[in-house]
Amino acid sequence: MALAALLGRDMRLAVRVGGGALMGVLFFLIVVAMVPFALGPDLALLARTGPAILWLGALLASLLALDRLFAADHEDGSLDLILMGRAPLELAVAAKALAHWLTTGLPLVIAAPLLGLFLNLAPGAIGAVALTLLVGTPALTCIGLIGAALAVALRRGGLLVPILVLPLTIPVLIFGVAASNAATTSAVPFGTPFTVLVALTLMSAVVGPFAAAAALRHGLD
C-alpha cells in the first residue's frame, strides 16, 4: 500500500512544474539533433551510426535525470521518512525507480522512433532501436540508482554520478546497440544480443535497488 502511494506520489511530482519529467526527452532530442551537425549530413553514415547515436543520447539523458531521484527527497526530509517507514527500503527504492523510469525512460522510448526518422534509419532499425530501448532503459535507471544513492548527500556532486554510473552501463550499451544493428544486418541473429540485454535488465533490477538501499542506509547516518 505504501509502495503504491510512493509510486503515485513520485509520478505526480515528476509531471508537475519543477518535476523535470519531460526534460529528459528534450535533452534527448537536442543531443540527437546536434550529432548531424558534427558528423555532417551524409545520410548513409547517419543510418549506419543511427542506433549508436540514439542509444548514447538515451544513456546521457537518463544520466542527467538521475539527480531527480533522491536529491529533492533528501533536501526536504522525505527520504528519512522513507528510511524509517515500514516498507522494506529495497522495495521503496524499486518503487521510486519504477516511477523514474515511467516518467523519464518511457518518454525516451516513445521519442526514439521520431528521432530515428531524423537519422534516416530503416523501419526495421527503428523498431529494433525502440524495442531495445524499451528493454534497456530500465537497466539504465536501475544502474543509475546506485550512483544517485551514493551521491545523495553531496551538495556539489558535480560529475561524480556520471563517473560512477557510466562504466557500469557499458554492457547495456554494448548489447543494446548490438541488438539494434543485428536487426538490419544479418551477421548475428537479433535474439542473441537481445536476450543478453534482457538478462542485464533483470539482473540490474535486482542488484540496483539492493545496492542503492545499502548506499542510502550507510550514507545517511
Partner: protein, 244 residues
C-alpha cells in the same frame, strides 16, 4: 597477533613500522632475482624475439590490478559487515596502488601490441574490461575525494567497490567467453599451465616480486592514512577550540 588486535590503529602502526624494512628488503631481492631471470635466463620467443619479455611486467601488473580490487572488495565487506576499524583504511589506500598497476598493464600491453599485433589498442573483450576496471578505480578515488567525512566516504566507497567486483570474473573469463585478439588463459586454467617452465618460472618470480611491492606500498600507505586522519582530527579539534 589476531586480526581483532590489529584493529587498534596504534598497534597496527607499530607492527607496520617493524615489518616494513623487512618487506622492502624482500621486495628488492625478489625484483633483483626476477629481473635477472627474466632478462638473462628466459629465452627469446622464436617469433617475437626479445619483445616477449614485456610479458614479465605486463602479466604481473594485470594480476595485481585485479588483486587490488579483490582486496578492496574484502575490505568493503569488512567495513559494511564486520565494521572492522581499519577496513576502510585498507580499502582507501589500495585504490591508487591498484589503479597504478592497472595503468602499467594497459600501457605495457599497448607497447607490446604495437610490434606484435600492429596496433596499440583494439576494442576486444579483455582490453575493454581492463579499461573499465581502470575507469572504476578512478571513479572510486573520485568518490573518496568528494565526500568530506572519511567514515561516510568509506561506506559509500564500500558499496561501489562491491558493485564493481562483478568486473573481475568478466576480465578473467573474457578471453574464454568472447573471440578476442588477446591470447587465452595460459597460466590459471583447467588442465594446468601451457607455458614452458623456462618462461613460467621467471614469470612467477616476477609475480611474487610485484606482490611484495604491492604489500609494501599498501602497508606504508595505510600507515600514512592513519597518521593523516590523526592530523585531520587534531586540526578539527584546534579549530573547534579556537571558535567556541
Amino acid at each position: 597477533m589476531r586480526l581483532s588486535e590489529l584493529a587498534n590503529p596504534s598497534r597496527f602502526n607499530a607492527l607496520a613500522e617493524r615489518v616494513l624494512p623487512w618487506l622492502v628488503v624482500a621486495t628488492v631481492l625478489a625484483f633483483v632475482l626476477g629481473l635477472y631471470q627474466a632478462l638473462f635466463v628466459a629465452p627469446d620467443d622464436y617469433q617475437q624475439g626479445a619483445t616477449v619479455k614485456i610479458m614479465f611486467i605486463h602479466v604481473p601488473s594485470a594480476w595485481l590490478g585485479m588483486l587490488g580490487w579483490a582486496l578492496m572488495s574484502v575490505s568493503a565487506l569488512g567495513t559494511l559487515v564486520w565494521r572492522h576499524p581499519l577496513a576502510d583504511v585498507a580499502m582507501k589506500t589500495a585504490a591508487p596502488i591498484g589503479a597504478g598497476f592497472t595503468l602499467i598493464c594497459l600501457v605495457t600491453g599497448a607497447l607490446w601490441g604495437r610490434p606484435t599485433w600492429g596496433t596499440y589498442w583494439v576494442w576486444d573483450a579483455r582490453l575493454t574490461s581492463v579499461l573499465v576496471l581502470f575507469l572504476m578505480y578512478l571513479g572510486v578515488i573520485a568518490l573518496w575525494r568528494t565526500v568530506e567525512d572519511p567514515s561516510r566516504a568509506a561506506r559509500a566507497a564500500a558499496v561501489l567497490t562491491l558493485v564493481g567486483a562483478i568486473n573481475l570474473p568478466i576480465i578473467k573469463f573474457s578471453v574464454d567467453w568472447w573471440n578476442t585478439l588477446h591470447q587465452p588463459a595460459s597460466v590459471l586454467r583447467l588442465g594446468g599451465s601451457t607455458i614452458y617452465p623456462t618462461i613460467l618460472m621467471p614469470l612467477l618470480i616476477m609475480a611474487v616480486a610485484f606482490t611484495l611491492l604491492f604489500v609494501t606500498l599498501h602497508l606504508s600507505a595505510m600507515r600514512n592514512e592513519i597518521l593523516r586522519r590523526r592530523v585531520r582530527t587534531l586540526r578539527l579539534m584546534r579549530a573547534a577550540a579556537a571558535n567556541p
